[in-house]
């Protein structure tokens, strides 16, 4: 063994003794804190506008009338179980009405953009407008169209549709 190795052995031994002595006089104490958090079910639906309108147009020149407010932003926020379905539906309260005249509500369609949002046709029965799984915030757009027709009677037509967001 060389002199350097002997010196190294002695130094290491001394340091080991020193380390042991340091550990023997250090002090520690420990305590545990418990963290609890509760997350409850919640659902929130936001539409960019409360009303849309279709302007008058020549059926020959404009066979499909776009709503003036297109695109309409839609935001779906839901908290539910991680595997639970989240659904958005729409249902019209009736046909477009102007006094005694009506335009079938099925003449109104929409195209959707955004993950999970669905395109469709208005109806007096519930129609799917979006489908997701689990909690989260989803943003999309709906663009509405009215099929134009010479058969429509002159008038100012209106109707309400109800969007329903469901998150169990």
């Amino acid at each position: 063994m060389s002199k350097r190795m002997v010196v190294a052995v002695l130094v290491v031994t001394c340091l080991g003794v020193l380390a042991a002595s340091v550990a023997s006089w250090a002090a520690t104490d420990q305590q545990t804190l418990t963290i609890n958090a509760t997350v409850s079910s919640q659902a929130k639906l936001e539409l960019g506008v409360a009303a849309i309108s279709f302007p008058a147009a020549d059926p020959d020149g404009t066979p499909s009338i776009l709503a003036t407010e297109n695109p309409v932003s839609v935001t779906v926020k839901a908290r539910t179980g991680s595997s639970q379905p989240v659904t958005l539906t729409v249902q019209a309260n009736g046909d477009l009405q102007s006094g005694g005249n009506s335009i079938p509500i099925t003449k109104v369609t929409w195209t959707a953009s955004g993950s999970g949002f669905l395109s469709g046709t208005m109806d007096t029965s519930s129609q799917a407008a979006g489908s997701w799984t689990g909690s989260g915030r989803r943003d999309g757009d709906f663009s509405y169209s009215l099929a134009n027709d010479w058969a429509y009677q002159a008038g100012s037509y209106s109707q309400t549709v109800v969007y329903t967001l469901t998150a169990p």
């Binding site: 063994m1 002199k3 002997v6 002695l10 001394c14 003794v17 020193l18 042991a20 002595s21 340091v22 023997s24 006089w25 250090a26 002090a27 520690t28 104490d29 420990q30 305590q31 545990t32 804190l33 418990t34 963290i35 609890n36 958090a37 509760t38 997350v39 409850s40 079910s41 919640q42 929130k44 926020k77 839901a78 908290r79 539910t80 179980g81 991680s82 689990g134 909690s135 989260g136 915030r137």
Partner: protein, 181 residues
């Protein structure tokens, strides 16, 4: 015993000539050199130990924090119940250093659903106490002091709210460690 490095002759002179012959003598030189080395004064732990051993005591009150449910739009950051009072006592003299750290055992858990533990932060009040963010991967510094300590601080916890959290009752434990050395 032959004289060598580390020893003196009766006249007080250091005998260095012997080392010259050590280098030339090979294996026998090792034995000659080792004897003088073993004659050196022994360095023991007693010679470097401080005058008094350190003491440390940690108290948390309460021992649990709860976050209530809240609308993420209305309450983007949920305040936890509390604050938690932390009492630190360290003894051992002016040369003692002490540190308080914490580390979570994992993320907030509710069955298979989790909320990352890093979504929880705390703000601290009190001398030597530090604010921070909980972590499950590494201890986080909560406070540090020098010398004897008898102090109390308060930790207020906050949970970053989000629509992405699954419904459930979440929990996790956080270990606080006080060390004085």
């Amino acid at each position: 015993m032959e004289e060598g490095r580390g020893q003196q002759s009766a006249g007080g002179r250091m005998q260095v000539r012997e080392l010259g012959s050590l280098r030339a003598a090979g294996r026998c030189a090792w034995a000659k050199w080792l004897v003088p080395a073993m004659a050196l004064p022994a360095i023991t732990a007693a010679a470097v130990r401080p005058a008094a051993a350190a003491s440390a005591r940690l108290t948390l009150s309460p021992s649990a924090v709860s976050f209530p449910p809240a609308d993420p739009d209305a309450v983007p950051s949920i305040a936890g119940s509390g604050p938690v009072s932390v009492q630190v006592k360290v003894g051992g003299g002016p040369s003692i250093s002490s540190q308080l750290s914490c580390q979570a055992s994992g993320d907030l858990q509710s069955g298979p659903a989790i909320i990352p533990i890093s979504r929880i932060t705390w703000t601290a009040q009190g001398q030597g106490f530090l604010s921070g963010t909980l972590s499950r991967s590494a201890p986080q510094l909560v406070g540090q002091w020098m010398g004897n300590v008898d102090t109390q601080g308060q930790l207020q916890f906050w949970l970053q709210n989000s629509w992405s959290y699954a419904v459930g009752s979440y929990s996790q434990s956080v270990l606080y460690t006080l060390i004085a050395y």
